[in-house]
Subunit: 227 residues, 2 copies
């Protein structure tokens, strides 16, 4: 009954970082979006326009994980030539991302990610997945930070049981698994963030309508358009 949204991945230009010019690197070729930048195109059958096109998660790459391979068999791991490993966000990028986060953005949709990626691309190599991951991780870690602080506060003004001995050096100390949404009661708050319903060829959707509860514009610098 819904539309089917075909997701079209558009390739990134492949060899992009030949001359990174690290700090601000203006010329990040292509690579606007890795792959998960698919948008919902043809419904596969003449469907009506959904309320929203249903999102879609992007499954992993299916390639098995190579846990500590590089460590185990580190034979001649030469040339750290250009940064090609994991994304290393520049201060500007982090600043903007945090601004957006504080603005209330939790899980940006494809259009938003595209914008953000495009914008942050000015400050260094970045891909859509980086933006996505950043929000995922940041959200999660802010939450757990808050949680920790919360129950530490509770315990402090409750019985002062000195549970500070927990994280002396033990990072993952079994976790409490409690207080899932106690303090951070804003569980699933503003889940409706834009739409991402790029219908068919209308890829130029504004996506600036997300006036949910935050009034922060995505990128005031770039109201619209690609240029």
């Amino acid at each position: 009954m819904r539309l089917h949204h075909l997701h079209v991945a558009y390739v990134e230009k492949a060899s992009s970082s030949s001359s990174p010019a690290p700090s601000v690197s203006p010329s990040i070729p292509g690579s606007a979006f890795p792959a998960f930048a698919f948008k919902c195109l043809r419904p596969l059958a003449p469907k009506i326009s959904l309320p929203e096109p249903r999102k879609m998660i992007a499954p992993p790459d299916f390639v098995p994980r190579a846990r500590n391979a590089s460590k185990l068999l580190n034979y001649a791991v030469q040339v750290p030539t250009a940064g090609t490993t994991r994304w290393n966000p520049s201060p500007e990028q982090i600043k903007v991302l945090e601004m957006l986060y504080r603005g209330g953005m939790r899980t940006p949709n494809s259009v938003q990610i595209e914008r953000i990626t495009d914008e942050l691309g000015k400050y260094g190599r970045i891909e859509g997945k980086n933006v996505f991951y950043w929000f995922q991780n940041h959200k999660a870690r802010e939450r757990q930070k808050q949680k920790r602080a919360a129950l530490l506060t509770l315990s402090t003004l409750d019985s002062s049981s000195l549970l500070a001995a927990n994280e002396t050096k033990e990072g993952p100390e079994k976790k409490k698994k409690e207080a899932h949404d106690s303090l951070t009661s804003c569980k699933r708050r503003c889940k409706a963030w834009g739409d991402g319903a790029g219908d068919g060829d209308a890829a130029t959707t504004e996506a600036a309508d997300c006036t949910d509860d935050v009034t922060l514009e995505l990128f005031p610098l770039r109201p619209q358009g690609k240029a």
Copy 2:
């Protein structure tokens, strides 16, 4: 000093299965692979060949979840024309998927997914994400089924404490969070399932080399090639 791997997304061919002569729903347009079908290609810099090219998850679609959207604002959700909502696997599809699962496949890589999707496309509408999700869910649910059975067995032959009252109607009953890998000791067994390291243009990798501990061929019916 590490090596880096750049992951390059490759576009899907869009309309590959133009005339599959399917048994059930004939006109499945393209959609051989959604987007998460990227593979790790060139390292962007002359890196040495990794043990394996590092996988890459495919971040969700970024479109916010529409939990009960269609229910909340179900204004004129007309025409249930053709099934376009969620994938409804045909018996043949399920049969093949279960066969593959029993064969040992847990998380197929992109090449495998592509194949499976393409193959199962003969039996009805299907997308790569469906295959991916199926394996995810099936794995998870088989695991929890096994876990449940395991500790139920234990409790039965231990003290017969009748903990069956737990899941009368309460699906998510806080979970035990215990016995993470007690009975299902095969934790992360055959994680090495193929490679997905389609090197460069050699997209016609066999992907039939995964002779890990299962000898089941992916699709004996279709040894290789698209046609």
